[in-house]
């Protein structure tokens, strides 16, 4: 079984490796290690990982969110959470993890979890999309013809709705995602503000307001090539926000 070890602490990863080496049944092969959730997702895509031993508290992207993104893939790996303190058990259960181990992990417990992973089918591993309640994500996830792209929420300048997609404009370029502006607005109320029926901008990238030739107000947004139009309806909220800043 192809295993990926994900933990931000090198010593915790090396202990996991040692435990896996001690366990004879099932036979496992550690195909990689990752130090945060985002790297874990990228490695899973690249290495055809079957089982992920996933820490929860990590920088960049935590384990719960990584599990949520992983569950959306075509061949989701089985997820075994390994965490220091069992306060996230409920959230982990919601993320359809096949097991939840507390550190320091016992070899017998790890073995039992791995044996369970062997028996799982793809369908069992696929979590419902609404897996993780209301906590906002650190990354948006785009799947383009099976390839996965992750965009850090902190790097996004603005989001523009086009037909049934949303175009994410970030420091890394543009990406299409299949989500609605409305749900994004609700998920990140502190991060994005609506300036138009089809547009959300990052609050901390708003640099100022301008007027175009016809006298319409526009927002100057860091990272956007051109000023973005502000609709009459959204104007009072934007003015209040600018005053507040």
């Amino acid at each position: 079984m192809r295993v990926l070890i994900v933990d931000d602490e090198a010593l915790a990863r090396s202990r996991m490796r040692a435990l896996l080496a001690d366990i004879g049944d099932p036979v496992t092969e550690v195909v990689g290690e990752a130090a945060d959730g985002r790297a874990a997702i990228e490695q899973c895509e690249a290495l055809q990982v079957q089982v992920v031993l996933l820490d929860i508290s990590m920088p960049v992207m935590d384990g719960l969110e990584a599990a949520r993104h992983l569950a959306g893939g075509e061949h989701p790996p089985a997820i075994i959470f390994c965490t220091a303190y069992d306060e996230h058990a409920l959230a982990a259960f919601e993320a359809r993890a096949i097991d939840y181990l507390v550190k320091p992990v016992r070899a017998e417990r790890l073995q039992a979890a791995l044996l369970r992973a062997v028996k799982l089918s793809d369908a069992d591993r696929r979590a419902p999309a609404s897996g993780l309640g209301t906590r906002s994500r650190s990354h948006l996830c785009a799947r383009i013809r099976g390839n996965l792209r992750l965009v850090a929420v902190g790097e996004i300048s603005y989001l523009l709705a086009e037909d049934k997609y949303v175009v994410v404009h970030s420091d890394q370029g543009e990406v299409l995602i299949e989500e609605s502006l409305k749900t994004l607005e609700q998920e990140f109320p502190d991060r994005f503000v609506r300036i138009h029926r089809n547009c959300l901008i990052a609050i901390d990238r708003l640099q100022g307001l301008d007027r175009d030739a016809e006298g319409n107000l526009q927002a100057r947004v860091l990272g956007a090539a051109q000023p973005l139009e502000i609709s009459r309806r959204c104007l009072p909220a934007i003015r209040a926000l600018v005053k507040h800043l």
Binding site: D8, E9, A10, L11, A12, S14, R15, A18, A35, D36, I56, S57, P59, V60, M61, D62, L64, E65, A84, Y85, E87, H88, V102, K103, P104, V105, R135, S136, R137, S138, A152, V153, G154, E155, I156, R191, D204
Partner: protein, 340 residues
């Protein structure tokens, strides 16, 4: 038993004695309050008795405290009686010898002394009862705040414990010597957190505990954790509550350094500013757009420190938290207090 050697208690004794003196002369003859000579004479007699009794109780205090409550009360009560008998008899002699005429001529020595002792017994009983109840109240308050300090102190994050145990489990195979050191550091931290030293410790001791803590965390975080120390040499013996800085450092790691893939520098700065010691902990914030923290331990730790500062210092110490676009800082301001 209150401490009769303390100025506060002596003041209370003198005040009660003065009131008793006024009552004694006013009850038989309300007009006597205008007679300065009688007021002075009665005050002098009562104060003399009261303060002598207090002085004796001050000297006998340690012995009386060692007795059972009822025996102690009996002894404490008998002191003013004996003192009254002796002093009132002397007063009678002095008055006769110098013919002050303070005590009416028609009262003979025996009834004067007896009536003085009876009055003294009544008032002393009331006063002792009052002091006893007040002392009990004070002890209760003290016990309660001690219990609260206990409860507040024994709080090192469970995360930290389990993470450290995991680190040790890993090190045992790779580097047994480092595992040994980590166990020793962990033991020292837990001993301090379960400690009997409820009072203050020198800053140097607290910094030592912080170093033990940081040693453990650097095993876990490796090069992600950098520490800068800007320590004022004059501050080293300043008394601080045990484990008042360590939780701030722990917060800085859990909510700052650890949330960043590239880690960051934690800065600990101490400085004496006049009568105040300033200790600040400075750390970089999580990068923008990071999902909200999974654990909400932050405010619990800060509230906990604030409550302990209030118990130790009242309003004279404070904890300030300050946040910029890319940093977070917590600063303690502690007045100088003698270690009790």
């Amino acid at each position: 038993m209150p401490d009769f050697c303390s100025l506060g208690v002596l003041g209370a004794v003198a005040l009660v004695a003065q009131l008793v003196a006024l009552v004694i002369i006013m009850v038989p003859d309300p007009a006597a309050i205008m007679n300065l000579q009688r007021v002075v004479a009665a005050s002098f007699l009562v104060q003399w008795i009261a303060l002598s009794s207090a002085a004796l109780l001050c000297k006998l205090g340690p012995r009386i405290v060692g007795m059972s409550t009822s025996a102690g009360m009996a002894w404490a009560w008998s002191v003013p009686l004996v003192v009254t008998a002796v002093i009132s008899a002397m007063m009678r002699l002095v008055d006769d010898a110098f013919r002050f005429g303070v005590i009416p001529e028609d009262t003979t020595t025996q009834p004067f002394v007896i009536s003085a002792v009876v009055l003294s017994a009544l008032f002393a009983a009331a006063a002792l009862r009052y002091f006893y109840v007040q002392e009990q109240l004070r002890l209760n308050v003290e016990r309660e705040s001690e219990a609260r300090i206990d409860a507040l102190q024994a709080r090192i994050r469970p995360h930290f414990l389990f993470n450290t145990l995991n680190t040790v489990a890993s090190l045992i195979r790779i580097d047994p010597a480092a595992a040994e050191r980590a166990v020793e550091d962990l033991a020292e931290l837990f001993r301090a957190s379960l400690n009997q030293e409820k009072n203050l410790c020198p800053l140097a001791r607290e910094l030592e505990l912080v170093d033990r803590y940081l040693d453990i965390e650097s095993l876990r975080l490796r090069e992600r954790l950098q520490v800068q120390r800007l320590l004022d040499p004059d501050a080293m013996d300043w008394p601080v509550p045990l484990l008042s800085l360590q939780p701030l450092v722990e917060n800085a790691i859990y909510h700052g350094i650890q949330t960043r893939a590239d880690g960051g520098a934690l800065r600990i700065e101490t400085r004496v500013e006049g009568n105040t010691l300033r200790i600040s902990v400075h750390n970089p914030k999580p990068p923008a757009g990071t999902a909200p923290a999974l654990s909400r331990g932050n405010h619990i730790a800060l509230d906990n420190i604030r409550q302990r500062l209030a118990l130790h210092y009242g309003h004279r110490a404070r904890l300030e938290v300050d946040s910029g676009p890319d940093y977070h800082a917590a600063t303690l301001f502690l007045p100088r207090m003698t270690r009790s």
